[in-house]
């Protein structure tokens, strides 16, 4: 049971002094020792250090997200708000939105994240009509333009919230009511254009309501057709307005919906192929969503890369012991290193980035917890990147894989792949040669040991 009233006794901190940190966090190197004056400094995140030929900042392209850190209030399915951000209390909603923006950009400045991300409803309150909502959003856009200018922080991606409002309870694009489809289309148009004007590098679609609860009331085939149509509209509009960013779909198998259509990488790929969009749309991948779909994060990245649709990353982690999206900040060095190794193998993060779609635990109610969580995660990722760099530079893993498959460079291997064999010719060869292939050790344990040597 959830009770959701905002408590009366709202703490209203003075504007602009939400965090005890005043100056941007510095890079001090591995030997850094915390002091009372400087409780945190980056030990690994040296943004200008070259890693495989690119500045670390450009390899990682960190983004902080608006929703978890500034909209989220610490509620959970059985608990009321715990964070009590001043801008969550009563008051003029636009004034609160501006207060929120001040604190958000102050956080970006302190941690030095080069990008941010947002949903429309995160940054400006919904109005009584879509027109009013759009007007409010436009006012915030002007604020963002100024702040982005002042701070140099850029927009990794924008997106439209097509899931919170009850009008979307049965889906946005996949709603049984075409008016909802139209409403969603109008909302996406607005945010896509705003993202374009703000110089966003990508635009994301997360289909948290594009799915179903029970087949008893669902026409799955029809809904898939609606979803395909919607995606085509978005791509068409992107080209029309000249947006050069990537259109990204973010797969997730379930939650809030029982079954979501954008289940995982493989599912979305099939959907894109069926709609002829596999060269137009890429994917924004998240470890927690991968877990919920029964995959390792590395698998999802490698598969998206193999299919040519790898786009960007949500850099959080899930809890394997829990069956829902915990969206925790990453903290396991070897896991993140293997993740970034796959990103590097995929050619790097490209136009995408590492977005901290991660939220503080409900009990982390100090404003400074926001700073600690982001900065710790950035430093952990930087450290992991240095490990992944070693894996690439050393090359032993890559060589092992190449050696393992080298038989495919033999005449038979080539002939098979080039379509020069049939079951018949192969069967004839096997019998004629008395072929009895001998298995070779795959050496998994040695390779795992090799990986630990890079840490």
């Amino acid at each position: 049971m959830t009770q959701t009233l905002v408590p009366a006794s709202m703490d209203t901190a003075p504007r602009g002094a939400y965090f005890s940190f005043r100056e941007p966090l510095a890079f001090r190197g591995e030997g850094f020792v915390p002091t009372a004056e400087e409780p945190f400094a980056y030990r690994f995140y040296d943004k200008n250090r070259l890693v495989l030929g690119r500045r670390m900042e450009d390899q990682l392209r960190f983004a902080a997200c608006y929703w978890h850190s500034f909209v989220g209030d610490g509620t959970d399915p059985f608990g009321d708000a715990s964070f009590l951000r001043p801008w969550h209390g009563a008051g003029d909603p636009m004034a609160q939105a501006l207060h929120k923006a001040d604190v958000a950009f102050d956080l970006f400045r302190l941690i030095g994240t080069p990008f941010f991300t947002f949903h429309d409803r995160d940054v400006a309150p919904e109005g009584a009509t879509l027109r009013e909502s759009n007007e409010r959003l436009r006012r915030i856009e002007a604020v963002f333009e100024r702040k982005m200018d002042q701070t140099g922080v850029k927009l990794l991606w924008g997106t439209a919230n097509l899931f919170s409002n009850r009008r979307y309870m049965a889906g946005a694009a996949t709603n049984p009511d075409p008016d909802v489809f139209a409403y969603a289309a109008a909302q996406v148009k607005n945010v896509l254009e705003m993202t374009h004007r703000l110089g966003g590098h990508n635009y994301v679609l997360w289909g948290g309501r594009e799915g179903y609860e029970t087949l008893l009331n669902t026409d799955l085939k029809r809904e898939l057709a609606q979803l395909g149509r919607f995606l085509n509209l978005v791509v068409e509009h992107k080209h029309k307005i000249g947006f050069k960013g990537q259109i990204l779909i973010e797969p997730k198998p379930a939650e809030p919906t029982k079954h979501q259509y954008d289940h995982d990488v493989a599912t979305v790929y099939g959907f894109l192929k069926a709609n002829g969009l596999e060269t137009e749309v890429k994917l924004n991948l998240e470890q927690n969503h991968a877990l919920l779909a029964g995959h390792n994060f590395e698998h999802e990245i490698a598969l998206a890369s193999a299919l040519g649709i790898f786009g960007s990353i949500d850099m959080n982690r899930g809890d394997e012991m829990l069956g829902w999206d915990t969206d925790q900040f990453p903290n396991n060095l070897p896991q993140v290193a293997l993740t970034l190794y796959e990103v590097l193998k995929a050619g790097g993060i490209g136009q995408g980035g590492l977005n901290f779609d991660a939220k503080l635990r409900r009990q982390s109610i100090d404003p400074d917890d926001l700073v600690w969580a982001h900065a710790s995660a950035m430093d952990l990722c930087a450290r992991a990147l240095l490990v992944a760099e070693k894996m690439v530079q050393d090359g032993a893993l890559q060589r092992h894989v190449q050696t393992r498959y080298q038989g495919w460079d033999s005449p038979r291997g080539r002939a098979i792949l080039q379509g020069e064999c049939s079951l018949e010719t192969l069967a004839r060869d096997v019998e004629a040669e008395g072929l009895e292939p001998q298995p070779r050790s795959s050496q998994q344990e040695r390779l795992e040991h090799l990986v630990n040597g890079y840490i």
Copy 2:
């Protein structure tokens, strides 16, 4: 730990008298009361009863499988063989294979299942070379021909075992060694042709080893290309020999492999699209595999149907509390009824069938347990079919769904689906009309109640 020696004290029952049942099980109707003379009779499985215009037997197209019932010996990862079938003991392997065939066809006769299914290695022992294996298989084929003739039992599908032998430990089509690919191709050619000669209605590919254990030693992209090539060879050969049956892929996400490429319906669909095979290949679906992939069985059937690739069914059930393939006989009436309702909505089972890819629990060591398990499952499915028939005939569910989506027949709905709208025109309409769509109850609980009314 598994110890797998066949116990010395093998019980060798006289041939042809493996079961205490002597006569085929009869249909006696719902009022049947078991007696000592007739402990079991069908209460619902009346094969000639018309259900939605087809004989029940033709709607259900039951098949018994060779592997679980005649090859499986009751071992589990921590336990030795418990079943001690006479034909599992020491002795001439071909004599044992013949003994096994006698008992298998005796079971088919007793339970009255119109079809059976097999892997090559289930029915004939592997020889020292592929040539010898093929010769042995050919001898069994002759036996099958005769027995099928005598009993009228038909072949639902055949398949090649490309997973048990250690040569396939790193995959068959996806092996790093092209010689293994060639060996697998030769094996499939042989079984595909045998299936063709025996009048099989389908040929199945289950890729239990087509996947990987760790990306550290795997080139995922290359393996997908190999797998695509293999599947094309199979389809080409099918056409070459004039086989009219369906080629079916059986999705499963994992087990034995950590990650298998044929993960679920959506994944295989994308794979087929990528290889241009979506009109050539269909799917054989299993509830237990669906569960392991995080899906309901109904979802997998409905999705395959929507994508035009629904082919056949493995009719077992998994245990939601356990994380591996338990392959139990189906026993939950409402679940099976909803499954068959989806099959009927998909246009029926077509050339496919309901194959009992189900195994006795390790402690069900009586020969008669084989009879009880299959016959109980057949009767349960028949009963569920009658429930599903009511659901179709009454039509209330279908009407509810049609009503729910009827807005899509409005001018706006049609215009959207026919590509006559853009984000721009839709946004303009929303603003102009001040559109604020109102949600409607999806009535899930009422629909679930409606379903129970059919039981």
Copy 3:
């Protein structure tokens, strides 16, 4: 992300006419056919029918719960309120609480549930201080007394909400701050006494915050000691005030907390033993919580019964494909029948009851959905009870079990259980007798068939 503001445009239905149903639902028997005038009637729930010697109403002891049906607003982790109950809107909180109570008792009247259940915060709004909260609760108590008198509806159990308010974010009894322990104690005292005055049959403790998020900040041993102390205080107070109801703990492994101390039946039993409370406290079991802990519901009931701590039931169901508490209304006949069979084997529900701790799906936004969901579930349970009655009366299952273990009535069996053997004497016997026990079929498939015969 959750946005939780109550929408401005609150629909305010006229008081007392929240449902389209006006008269209590009638029992019409299996042949009932719905009409426009009477869309629902009970087909199986005939409250006065004798089932194994007790009235059906007394065997089932249904309760409707306050929280899901009257407090829950349809929010989910990604969605705002969808239900828009009139009493959720702005307005005097006590007036809203009274409105809510009117509708609640109207529902109880319509569906004919003999019991209800509540948390303190469900029925009266929290005040600025505990004193004010208690005063508000006292006012509602007076209303309840009158309504219970008028309708005959009784209180199955009351409980204190020790989880929603942020003061409990780190636990109630297990909080690092003893002041929170004291606050929780004060709250429980108040609700326990209220439950006593209202003639409640049980008092429940659900420890949704009694657990931890990470061991890094947790002293598990200390928290267990706190929890033991708290439970002792509750039991002492129960005796002091002469409350004759059962004190019940409701196990759940996780959610909202990562790890909760009252994990499952076995865990709570050990905790009770460690605190000497195993004869003072019993359990309130829920299927969805059992699933989350990796158990079947039947297991939890049978184990609690074997350990002498079976108390009551939350009668909902979870979704095996989802990893969180879905709290759906029960709808699977065989599953519920097996559940009630275990309840009957445990001696019946006793002082407990079947509480519908179940919530409407978020899209079931019609007021009448509340009626349909509860009434459908009651009828399903009644039908399942009749199946379970057959299982008991026929006795075949019970006889099978007794026969299976009859060896334990042999001299050796008795000697072992009575402590008259040692490893030494048993080893000597085995060698002397050359004992080689032969396994017997456990006949699982036949037994499952037998169960289906009762349906």
Copy 4:
């Protein structure tokens, strides 16, 4: 389906030269660089290095297990043997057992593990009668005595295999047939005495068959009583023969059985309490089993420690994406460090040890893979121990926890815990003081950052 025949073409390596490694692996320090001559050396496992006052070898007490490494043949539920160890082939079973023992002790020598562990059936083949089995075991025992003497390798624990043979298919102690109980008792007596004679430090009971498949054929209460009796017999015999080692139960929730009685730490604790054995029996914990029960490994260790029943560890890891026991060698540094931190907090490993109940992946078919896997795991654990040492020495985590709970040292905190308060006095205090406790941040993200600082 499993086919389990041992292939005919068994590779028979010359005795005593099974591995390419000839000399025990050396410790070379962190700077070690592999060469062709010395492909592996320990970089962290310096057995004589003092860690928190004890030699590293004594803190870790590594053991290699017999079953996975020398009995396991690489079969999986869908695959035949892949390892083809020479001693798995045809031949005199006792000669093969001696060959196996030679290779096993050669491995212990090479990797320098101070302990080993075994089941009776791992080391000597089962005979036609228990008497013959015992005689064979006695012959191997003599061999072990000599080899242990020569090498200094000690026995961490022995155990009886009460699960592989079909006689145990329905349980050992919990079998419906008391003769099976007797047989199991005789087997345990023999192995317990053998363990005692060999100077074993512990004796383990793993109840892989002590559980059930379905309640339909199970008397759960009766089986729990049988299990309690059995455990008492073992404890009584331990005292009778003067065995000073620990009796350990190894919890696991399922697999092979659907539900196992020794589910997890909390369950076994309750069982021990119910049987008055909580001071006689301790636990052997495994990470993979913890995962299957829905727990972190750290939780199980911390809980066992809090309950006073922590005994020993199986040092493997599971795969969170798979639902069965994968028993992989540990490889995640932060995870193992947190595990060992809990072990240190529990007072160290005591009489227990870190047993590698871990198996090679099925494709790791080189003999040397056994060396690599064990040695890599040992070095990883040593490295993790050094991290855990820092966590203990620095003390920051411990101080944080102490500070967090310091309120419990206040007068109210003490009074509560000492039983000097009641619900009444606490409620009075809360009202009188107008107590409104304020939550404090639990700082989870900062603490996770702190942990990464130690790595």
